[in-house]
């Protein structure tokens, strides 16, 4: 009976390295490839599209998607989904401006309070899903409605006295200024990317997430507290949606109604393009990053094409399908 737990030294080095490129890791490369492809196509159609300024702008917009998609990545990895991001984001934005009233003095409290809001909604989502067996689609859908109602009601349709406030200058600065030529917002995204990648790949928490996503029953029987992890991940999703709300309102200055709506589809699509399996258990946040960039770049190309609204929608949908068919197909039954 042969046993071989160490790599066989006779094997060429490149072959060993190649083995570490599992299909899931390859998808991350494909996702970045897709992003580059979109930039190339954009440059061909509109010279200047891939200029430094243009790329920077696209990346900043992509980061907004990336923040929301970070939370979405976590919950999709365990086979769930978070449909409450639109109004958690929106509520966070509104909460930030109305608490800080556009002044730096209360900025810190406002930010903390807003992030706490994200955590709280995530907690409710997670508990409903993990402990009360409410399907994720229903729970987060309901939560979205709840947040929408609360936001609209409490802010009286965003007509309350403090609603027209701006985000605190400190927040606006973080989002809009450059640090050594690189937008601070991108540095924030980079930091978050590193943290999440580390969390998923190098910690026991990450290992548990993948285990649950691949086989919840087996994880339970291996002693993993599936419920606790589930709640934690939905809390993270809420946290990131709130963060996105803060950043967005810092970028745009004021809160608007419906500012979170586009991010639902985009966060899910970014994850899938990035190679995260919607069934759970497979994928990396790096892929989501690439997916966010691809998506936003695609939209930008379409916008630059002066295509009518309807054409953009159609091309958008077709492109997503095309990319999915390329590398997003489920495997055959094992």
């Amino acid at each position: 009976m042969t046993s071989g737990a160490e790599s066989i030294t006779a094997e060429p080095r490149w072959r060993q390295l190649l083995a570490y490129l599992t299909p899931d890791r390859r998808r991350v490369f494909y996702a970045f490839g897709a992003a580059i492809l979109v930039f190339v196509v954009g440059e061909l159609l509109h010279p200047g599209f891939a200029s430094a300024e243009s790329v920077k702008a696209i990346l900043v917009i992509a980061s907004f998607v990336g923040f929301v998609a970070a939370g979405q990545t976590f919950v999709i990895l365990i086979g769930g989904i978070d449909l409450s991001v639109p109004w958690v984001l929106n509520a966070a934005a509104i909460l930030l401006v109305t608490t800080s009233l556009g002044r730096d003095g209360r900025a810190a409290q406002a930010v903390l309070l807003t992030l706490a809001l994200g955590l709280a909604t995530g907690l409710l989502n997670g508990v409903g899903i993990a402990y009360f067996a409410v399907p994720a689609v229903v729970m987060t859908l309901g939560m979205n409605g709840i947040m929408e109602g609360l936001s609209l009601g409490l802010s009286k349709g965003l007509t309350c006295s403090s609603c027209a406030s701006y985000a605190p200058p400190a927040v606006q600065d973080v989002v809009r200024t450059d640090v050594a030529g690189v937008p601070a917002d991108l540095l924030l995204w980079l930091g978050i990317t590193i943290m999440i990648t580390f969390l998923l790949s190098a910690t026991t928490f990450g290992r548990r997430i993948y285990a649950i996503g691949n086989n919840e029953t087996a994880s339970f029987l291996a002693g993993i507290s599936v419920r606790v992890v589930t709640v934690a991940l939905y809390m993270l999703s809420g946290l990131f949606a709130a963060l996105a709300g803060i950043v967005l309102v810092g970028y745009g200055g004021q809160a608007t109604l419906g500012m979170g709506d586009p991010y639902l589809f985009q966060s899910i699509a970014a994850c899938v393009i990035g190679g995260i399996s919607i069934l759970g258990g497979r994928g990396h946040y790096l892929g989501t990053v690439a997916g966010s960039i691809t998506l936003v770049a695609l939209v930008s190309v379409l916008l630059a094409e002066n295509m009518p609204d309807w054409g953009r929608s159609v091309v958008y949908g077709v492109s997503i399908l095309f990319i999915l068919l390329l590398y997003g197909r489920e495997r055959r039954q094992l």
Partner: protein, 480 residues
Amino acid sequence: MDASFSADFGEVHALVGENGAGKSTMIKILSGVLRPDAGTLEVRGSPVTFRNPHDARALGVGTVFQELTLMPWMTVAENLFLRNEPQGRTGLIQRRRLAARADEVFGRLGIEGIDPYELPAGLSLAHRQVIEIARALLGDPDILFLDEPTSALAEQEVDWLFALVRSLREHGKCVIFTSHRWGEVANLADRITVFRNGEHVATRDRLTEGEAVTLMTGRTIDRMYPERQPVADGLPAALEVRDLRGERVQGVSFTLRRGEILGVGGLAGQGQRDLFMTLFGAHRQTGGELLIDGKAQRIRKPSDAIRQRMGIALVPEDRKTEGLMLPMSVRDNLTLAVLGRVAFYGVLKPRTEQAYVRRAVQRLHVQTTRPSVQEVATLSGGNQQKVLIGRWLIAQSDVLLLFDITRGVDVGTKHDIYELMMELVAEGKSLLFYSSETEEMARLCHRVLVMREGRIAAELAGEAADAEAIVAASLREHAA
């Protein structure tokens, strides 16, 4: 793998072989569920290809699979007539008549005690097996495959099935069945084909059990199973269970000694699985006491069981759905239960992990070249099972609950597992063991508890615990 055999009309043909020998796969191919990689299939003398189960059915093939395929949310009647429903003049299915028709069918076949309006979840495993058999018979097949049809059936039901099979033979049909119970095979079969490791070994009209086992395993009985060491006396019990109650556990009491292999037998579906799950904390315990190493403990969830000073481990029945994360690496699967030990405040320590993995892989002879990357899904069934067991070896559990761990595993791996079990008890660990092959339990266990309807109906020990006695105790009906 190279397998061939033939069967005639008017014959009852038995396929025997160990778990993992290929019998179920053969039946799946012959039923059109799986496609063969190579080879030919002839029905009534002409070559055929089954592209799907439909083709097989069209040629008169009926099958009762080992894994029951009842639709969980359809009633018994709906399940019975699935794809065979009675249609009215309008071409629509007559749902109202389904139950009455079901009653008729049951009456005709001599089946009683099954409510056609019931959902499968409300039925015993035996009844579910009976319904599957009835369903296969509805199509009036000329060739009937029965894969382990009696694993859950009690004496009366087994007699019923045998009468049925004999009647089919009289009518010129061909019945091919598999079974682990030698008594049934000898009783019923006209011819016996032996498989081993995916290959056809022999076809005979007559075989003694000893000859069969030798053909099935390639070794004589004595050398297949390792020497069983006696249990040391005087040591405190590892596990003491007093009147345990749970979902289908109706008051179970027993003691598991250190260094002992205790078997839990009985017909399939009598509560054995629930007993294991309840002991492990995976199912809710509604009554009774559990003493681990002499102290009463509350086990509410698996992590409670695992984290005991005398750790408990469960190797569950279906490694694919309950045990392994197939797309994850060998390493990931192995260290899953001991993540705390291979990490520093939550951050994984690759070298520590690698060491654990290497040791486990070497001890179990797992065939894998790159355990940190190789997906468990790509391993053979035997190696997969080893990985699952390896997880609990790494966890250094003292009490191992092993549920049908040799299912779908090749002979070589089986032998490795037996040896491992002996090593473990020699180290002082305790094993609770359930197997669908009574022979295994008889040869490996020091004692065997026979379960019936959630209770322990009998306890056999030592010499008295041979395969025949276990089967006899399992089949015996409740005293009135």
